[in-house]
Amino acid sequence: MPLFAQAINMLAALFLLVAFAMLSQRRLANLINLYALQGLILGLSIGVVAYGTDQPKLYFSAGLNLILKVIAVPWLLRRLVRKLQVQWDRETILYIPTIMLLGLGLVIFAFNASLPLSELAGTINHNTLGIALASVLLSSLMMILRATAISQVIGFLALENGLIFAATSVTYGMPMVIELGIALDVIVGVFILGVFFFHIREQFDSLELNYLDRHED
């Protein structure tokens, strides 16, 4: 196995590990750090693929991801939680061991589902598709389990990280226009959510979404 492939596999493993860590992290400040770390791993692995396959286009994509996910979005989120003064709130997550087991099940499922697909890809990092799919599923799980608005959003952003990871592992990323479009959507989305948080807070004095569930039909 060439050195690049080994490096990519190691980064992919770390990527999955961070996804698990996010699943069980209670404090928002730490959750944001984990998100930045995941962005860093994503950017690095795209960089390694760019170096290994000698594709200058991918350096650009790596740079875009690093700026967006290690600096811009975490900065926005940190500012937001500081303003809302919730960075050290402890969120209650019930049954962490059960959640972890559920997560393991999802990982096994993702690996099985992606096995026939990744064999068809001719990329050097094709066997990381399973990890990408697993982290997409883990992020969805996180969104389902979390009760506060901000951690749901971080789950959503992590989900998007997993998708970009998947795109690099099967096709060396999407065309540049699309990556820019996705990046734009992410940044606008975070802004809008920031506005939302204040509105929700204004109305409910809390970011716990349980208060929102009164309007069932």
Binding site: L120, A121, L159, A167, Y172, G181, D185, H215
Partner: protein, 482 residues
């Protein structure tokens, strides 16, 4: 050139109204921008009629019979809704429910939303299609919570998160589709729909089938297919009524359009009608679940948004059946549903405004003091329930006819769904329209002209389909049919 104008005008409109959207002239300016967009769409249509399908700007944009009628429909409904919005939002503004800043946001986002819809339709690049659909969610999310009530914030949050996750799945499907094309034609043009359509026979069936599942779940969330429909009634009920009208009239159609485009690709690769079966399943479940939910609705806008799920389910089912007749019927159904439903939202918006409530059991006897509103609500309801000679009757009749021939097992379910929906909506509308009045007479005449124009068109489509429209439908039906 006309193609770029269609996209440029709403974009310029969004920027302009972002600055001056709170001024007195903004109500008219909004309608004027939409009217100009419609004019550009008509110029483009003229070109397509004369020269046939058009692939332009490095094949990044493509216009064919499938998207041209939707472009016209989108531009038209956006225009009439803007006219309705002029009267409606003015009342909201002067009653103090909407501040100047929010009005500016509303007008700007209205144009931006039109832009994303038209971009999603016109682009040939499935990646851009995704970006535009996500842009549509982003631009309308803040409009759903425009009134900042607890219920509207909840609705906007649900809308944002559910559609966000849905659209993320759609992105995964898009990536997989790109991947399958990547192994056939390399990294170039692997996202262009026309290119994918040429090579669809060579795409790997395993990847395409997985991709299609993600795509139908992803875009299906936006169509409002059950079980991903949870956001739809809330978003429709809590946002300002013009937004409900364009969500139902435009967004759902465009999302369904995306699914059908992907179905064409998946069919070409799979040859086993599995995508069709999946669509029939989603469609039928949506039809039944929403039909049975209708009778439990107490809010007039929620009632009609459940009816949107029902009709989109029916159209999805018909597209899933495939075949020339069913596809023709589904296309007609998309058109008439879009017109009828936006008309219904126009009238129910005014009703709710005048009655001061959206609760159905607090609205009685509209005909007595507000005959215009009463008639438009009654006729709209009759049209949406498929009473002849309205166009919805024609499309539903064609869908049922196709179902008898192709999928006879589905007939009882379809009739059950339509029957239950009929009973629920008819009963509720009747109690609102007839009887002793408790709604004060409208102080200013409501803007019901757009509503009646829509109903007139639906009536016309029930009696006579213009040959050019029929030939487009037939052409598209041939394209969708494997």
């Amino acid at each position: 050139m006309s193609l770029l104008w269609i996209l440029a005008i709403p974009l310029i409109g969004a920027a302009y109204l972002g600055l001056f959207g709170h001024r007195e002239h903004a109500f008219i300016a909004n309608a004027a921008f939409s009217l100009t967009t419609l004019a550009a769409a008509i110029v483009l249509t003229q070109r397509i009629i004369v020269h046939g399908p058009w692939l332009t700007h490095d094949a990044q944009f493509s216009v064919d019979p499938f998207n041209i009628f939707l472009v016209d429909l989108t531009a038209f409904v956006a225009m009439t809704t803007a006219i309705f919005s002029r009267a409606y939002m003015r009342i909201e503004r002067y009653s103090g429910r909407v501040t100047a800043a929010r009005l500016r946001l509303y007008h700007s986002m209205y144009q931006l939303f039109s832009f994303t819809m038209l971009l999603a339709l016109l682009t040939n690049n499935i990646g851009i299609l995704w970006v535009a659909m996500e842009g549509a969610t982003l631009s309308t999310a803040l409009l759903v919570s425009l009134y900042r009530t607890p219920a509207s914030l909840e609705a906007a949050w649900k809308y944002f998160i559910l559609c966000g996750v849905g659209i993320a799945f759609a992105l995964f499907g898009t990536i997989l589709l790109y991947f399958s094309a990547h192994s056939v034609i390399g990294p170039h043009n692997g996202l262009l729909w026309t290119r994918l359509n040429q090579i669809k026979g060579h795409l790997d069936p395993t990847i395409v089938s997985v991709a299609f599942v993600f795509l139908i779940v992803g875009y299906g969330t936006k169509v409002g297919l059950v079980p991903m429909h949870n956001w739809l009634p809330d978003a429709h009920a809590e946002g300002p009524t013009p937004i409900s009208a364009i969500l139902s009239g435009l967004l759902l159609n465009v999302a369904l359009y995306a699914i059908v485009r992907f179905k064409v690709l998946a069919d070409g690769s799979l040859h086993d009608n599995w995508p069709g079966a999946l669509m029939m399943g989603f469609g039928l479940i949506s039809l039944l679940v929403s039909a049975f939910s209708l009778s439990r609705q107490r809010d007039i806008k929620r009632l009609f948004s459940y009816s949107s799920i029902e009709h989109m389910g029916l159209a999805t089912f018909a597209f899933g059946m495939g075949g020339p007749l069913a596809s023709f019927a589904a296309l007609l159904h998309m058109t008439v549903h879009s017109l009828t439903k936006s008309s219904l939202f126009f009238s129910s918006g005014h009703v709710a405004q005048k009655a001061g409530t959206q609760q159905i059991d607090q609205i009685h006897g509209l005909l007595e003091r507000n005959p215009g509103m009463g008639w438009s609500l009654m006729l709209g309801s009759l049209a949406i329930l498929g009473i002849p000679p309205f166009g919805v009757f024609t499309s539903e009749f064609l869908i049922l006819t196709a179902a008898i021939h192709q999928e006879p097992w589905s007939l009882p379910f379809l009739i059950l769904g339509l029957g239950v929906a009929f009973a629920a909506i008819f009963g509720k509308t009747q109690s609102m329209v007839f009887g002793a009045s408790n709604v004060p007479k409208a102080p200013s005449p409501p803007s019901l002209i757009p509503s009646f124009i829509h109903l007139g068109l639906v009536l016309m489509l029930g009696l006579y389909i213009p040959p050019i429209l029929a030939s487009w439908y037939t052409h598209v039906a041939g394209m969708i049919h494997r």
